[in-house]
C-alpha cells in the first residue's frame, strides 16, 4: 500500500456501497499528503460530517485545499485537496469547454433535450466522475488523484460510463437524423423525405413531433461537440489503463460486498486494468477463544464499583462473555470469507485487512488511525 500511495498518479477506489470507500479515499489522500505529495481527493456526496472535517462546507464543484496545520499531526509536507462532485455543474462546464462560441453554448443549454439529458445522464454520477477525472488528471496540477467512485448496483456502470454520453449522441443516430444538410426551418419536412421516413413518422407518433424537432435541433447544435466527447471518451479509457493508475477494490467482510468485489476482480482483469490490492474494511477482530472475564477483569471491575449497584460487575462481566462469544464467532466467519476471497486473487494482488473502528470515521484523526492500519498491516494481526 505504501508504494502505491507514494508512486501512483491515480488511485480509483471501487466497490459496493456502505463499505467505507469515501473514508478510505480520504485516508489514502491524507497519507499521501503526509508523504509529501500534492493530492486531490475527488469524492461524491460524502457524509456531511466527513466533508466538514475536511473543511468542505460548500457543496460546490471547487477544488478546496484542506488546512492540515491545526490537526496536530506531524508536520505535513504535502498538500491535501478535496473536491465534491456536482453533476449538473460538471456537465455545464463541459459544454462550455466544448462549445465553440457563446451562441452554440446558449442554444445547447436552453434546449429541452439537454435538460432531459441533465436529468437522466447527469443524474448518473459515474459518468460525471469520469468527466471530472479527465479534467483534473490531464491538468497535471496534482501528484496524485484519489477517486472515490459512486456505489453502483451494476458494478460495470462506472467502467463503461465514458461511453454513455457517446451513446446518446451516437453517430449513426445523428447521421440518421441529419441525413441531409439541414436548415433550421422545416427541418422535419426535409427529413421526412428521407428513406426511413416511415420509421421517422412512427417515432414522431410515439414521442410527439415537437420532441423530434427538439432532438433534431439538439443534434445540429451538438454535432460539433461530438468529436470532443469521443476524444474524452478515449482519453479516459487510456487513463484507466495507464501503468500509473491503480484500481483499489474496497469491500467489507460480508457476502454482498464480497460479491461486488469478486465481480470487480473479474471485470478489471478482463479489461486489463491494474488492480494491485483488495482492501477489506470494517473487519471485526477477536483472536482469543472464550477468554474468561472472571480471570482477566473481575479484580479490576470490583475495584471500580464504588457508587454503583452491587452485582453490576458480575452482570457486566456476564454480558461481556456473551458479547465476546458473538464477536469471536463473527471474526471466525469473516476469516472464512476472506480465505475464500484470497483464492480469487492472483499472486501479485494483496489483501489488506482494516479493523472496524468505534464510532464513525469523520475527522482527520480518525482518518489517520485508519491510515496507520492501512500502512502497517502487522498492527492488525494479519499480514497484507
Amino acid at each position: 500500500m505504501k508504494d502505491l500511495i507514494k508512486e501512483k498518479k491515480l488511485l480509483i477506489c471501487v466497490g459496493a456501497g456502505g463499505v467505507g470507500k469515501t473514508s478510505l479515499s480520504a485516508t489514502i489522500g491524507l497519507q499521501a499528503a503526509i508523504m509529501g505529495r500534492k493530492v486531490l481527493v475527488l469524492t461524491i456526496d460524502p457524509a456531511k460530517r466527513l466533508a466538514n472535517s475536511l473543511g468542505l462546507n460548500e457543496f460546490g464543484n471547487e477544488e478546496t485545499k484542506i488546512d492540515l496545520s491545526a490537526t496536530g499531526l506531524q508536520e505535513v509536507e504535502g498538500e491535501l485537496w478535496a473536491m465534491m462532485l456536482d453533476g449538473q455543474k460538471t456537465f455545464n462546464e463541459l459544454i462550455e469547454n466544448l462549445a465553440e462560441d457563446e451562441e452554440t453554448r446558449r442554444r445547447i443549454l436552453e434546449n429541452n433535450i439537454y435538460q432531459g439529458i441533465t436529468d437522466t445522464i447527469v443524474g448518473n454520477q459515474e459518468y460525471m466522475a469520469t468527466e471530472k477525472l479527465y479534467d483534473v488528471v490531464s491538468s497535471g496540477r496534482y501528484d496524485l488523484v484519489v477517486l472515490d467512485t459512486p456505489p453502483v448496483k451494476n458494478a460495470l456502470d462506472f467502467l463503461d460510463s465514458p461511453g454513455r454520453m457517446a451513446r446518446f449522441v451516437d453517430k449513426r443516430v445523428m447521421k440518421w437524423f441529419l441525413t441531409t444538410k439541414v436548415k433550421k426551418k422545416g427541418l422535419l419536412n426535409r427529413l421526412l423525405n428521407g428513406t426511413s421516413s416511415a420509421l421517422f413518422r412512427l417515432l414522431g407518433y410515439i414521442f410527439g413531433q415537437d420532441f423530434l424537432e427538439d432532438i433534431a435541433v439538439f443534434f445540429v447544435n451538438f454535432r460539433d461537440l461530438y468529436e470532443g466527447f469521443q476524444e474524452r471518451h478515449s482519453a479516459v479509457e487510456k487513463i484507466f489503463r495507464d501503468p500509473e493508475t491503480a484500481f483499489l477494490i474496497v469491500c467489507a467482510p460480508h457476502d454482498p460486498a464480497l460479491e461486488v468485489a469478486n465481480f470487480f476482480l473479474k471485470e478489471l482483469k478482463n479489461r486489463n486494468m491494474h488492480t494491485p490490492a483488495v482492501i477489506v474494511n470494517q473487519c471485526h477482530i477477536a483472536d482469543y477463544d472464550s477468554p474468561d472475564p472472571q480471570e482477566f477483569l473481575a479484580e479490576e471491575a470490583a475495584n471500580l464499583m464504588q457508587d454503583l449497584d452491587s452485582y453490576t460487575d458480575s452482570t457486566l462481566l456476564a454480558r461481556m462473555k456473551t458479547a465476546h462469544k458473538r464477536l469471536r464467532n463473527l471474526s471466525k466467519a469473516e476469516d472464512i470469507l476472506l480465505k475464500k476471497l484470497r483464492t480469487n486473487l492472483q499472486p501479485h494482488q494483496s489483501l489488506c485487512r482494516i479493523p472496524r473502528f468505534h464510532g464513525e470515521v469523520h475527522d482527520i484523526h480518525a482518518l489517520n488511525k485508519v491510515g496507520m492500519a492501512l500502512l502497517n498491516q502487522d498492527n492488525v494481526g494479519k499480514k497484507c
Binding site: D119, V173, W176, I206, D210, T312, E360
Partner: protein, 310 residues
C-alpha cells in the same frame, strides 16, 4: 397505522442505500402479504443479476413465475417492456416488428432520456390490473430517484403523443393513496443521512408520491443498565494490560455502540414519520448472521405479520 398502509398499498416501491436489506424487506413483505391472501407480484427492474434469485432459488423472468399460490416474481426487462408497450399503443404487429427490427430505432429508443424507464413503469401500471399488490425492489437511492422522476421529465420533453399520455397515467397512479415508497435504513449515520435526503428529494422532485415510509433494519434494543455503562467506561479508561481483557472490553463496547446507534437512528427517523417507525431487530451481532437469506426472510416475514396483528 403505518404497517397497515404498507399492507394495503397496491404499488409499493422499495429503495434505500446499497446493502441495507431492500431485497430482504421486499421479499419478506411479499411473503407476508401473500400469506394474508393477497395476490402479490414481487418485481425487479431490468436487473442483470436479479437479487431475488438467491432468495427463491428461481431466476425471475419478464413473465411472472409463480413461487406459491398467491406469490409470483418477475424481472421487468426494458426490451420486453418496450415490445409490450408498442404492441398496446400501435396495435399493429407488423409495424412493431419493423421498429424492433431497426437497429437505429433501438439505439434511439435505448438512448433517449427516460424511454427505458417509461416503458417499464407503463408495464407496472398495466400489471396492476391483474395483481392485488405489486412490490417493486428498486435499485439503490440515486438510481431509484432517477426512475421515479422520469414520468415528470418525459411529460416536459414530450408534450404530445402516447409517451405523454402514459406518463400522465403513471403520475396519476403515483398520486393515489395506494402507491407508496418504502425506504429501508440502518442504524448508521451515513445511511440515515441518505435516507432523509432521499425522502426530501423525492418530495421535492416527485410531489405526486406520498411521503416515503421509513423502515429501520438491523436494530438493537438497549440492554446495558446505566451502572453497567459507567463500569464499562471505567474499565476502558483503565487500560488493562492483557490482550484478552481488551478483547472482552472491546466486545462489550461493540454491542453498546450498536445499541446506542440504534437509539439515535430510531429517534432521527421517527421524526420524519407520521405513524410509529417500523423496525426489525438485528439477527445476530454486528450483521454477522449465518442463517442464510431464506431464514432472514422468514424471520422478517414473521415480524411483519406480528406487527400487522398488533
Amino acid at each position: 397505522m403505518t404497517i397497515e398502509t404498507i399492507f394495503q398499498s397496491r404499488l409499493l416501491f422499495v429503495s434505500g442505500k446499497g446493502g441495507v436489506g431492500k431485497t430482504s424487506f421486499a421479499s419478506s413483505l411479499a411473503l407476508a402479504s401473500s400469506d394474508k391472501g393477497k395476490k402479490v407480484l414481487l418485481v425487479e427492474i431490468d436487473n442483470i443479476h436479479p437479487s431475488t434469485t438467491n432468495i427463491f432459488g428461481i431466476k425471475p423472468e419478464y413473465n411472472p413465475t409463480p413461487i406459491s399460490k398467491n406469490l409470483s416474481i418477475a424481472n421487468i426487462t426494458w426490451k420486453e417492456a418496450l415490445k409490450s408497450w408498442l404492441t398496446e399503443t400501435i396495435k399493429s404487429r407488423t409495424i412493431v416488428q419493423m421498429i424492433l427490427g431497426q437497429p437505429i430505432a433501438m439505439i434511439f429508443l435505448d438512448a433517449t432520456p427516460g424511454a427505458r424507464e417509461i416503458v417499464i413503469l407503463a408495464k407496472l401500471v398495466s400489471l396492476l390490473e391483474e395483481w392485488d399488490q405489486i412490490i417493486v425492489d428498486l435499485p439503490a437511492s440515486g438510481h431509484a430517484l432517477g426512475i421515479l422522476r422520469v414520468p415528470k421529465t418525459a411529460q416536459n420533453l414530450m408534450k404530445k403523443g402516447p409517451i405523454n399520455e402514459v406518463s400522465k397515467k403513471i403520475l396519476k397512479i403515483f398520486s393515489q393513496d395506494t402507491t407508496r415508497v418504502v425506504l429501508v435504513s440502518l442504524p448508521e449515520e451515513m445511511v440515515i443521512n441518505e435516507t432523509i435526503e432521499f425522502a426530501n428529494k423525492l418530495h421535492q422532485q416527485v410531489p405526486e408520491v406520498s411521503k416515503p415510509i421509513v423502515v429501520l433494519n438491523r436494530m438493537s434494543i438497549p440492554t446495558l443498565s446505566k451502572d453497567e455503562n459507567t463500569l464499562l467506561d471505567r474499565l476502558k479508561e483503565k487500560e488493562i494490560a492483557p490482550p484478552e481483557a481488551n478483547e472482552l472490553i472491546e466486545a462489550a463496547t461493540w454491542e453498546r455502540d450498536l445499541e446506542q446507534a440504534s437509539q439515535r437512528a430510531a429517534e432521527r427517523l421517527q421524526a420524519t414519520q407520521r405513524g410509529k417507525l417500523i423496525s426489525f431487530q438485528r439477527l445476530g451481532i454486528l450483521g454477522g448472521y449465518d442463517g442464510g437469506p431464506q431464514k432472514v426472510i422468514q424471520q422478517m416475514k414473521a415480524a411483519l405479520l406480528r406487527m400487522a396483528v398488533r
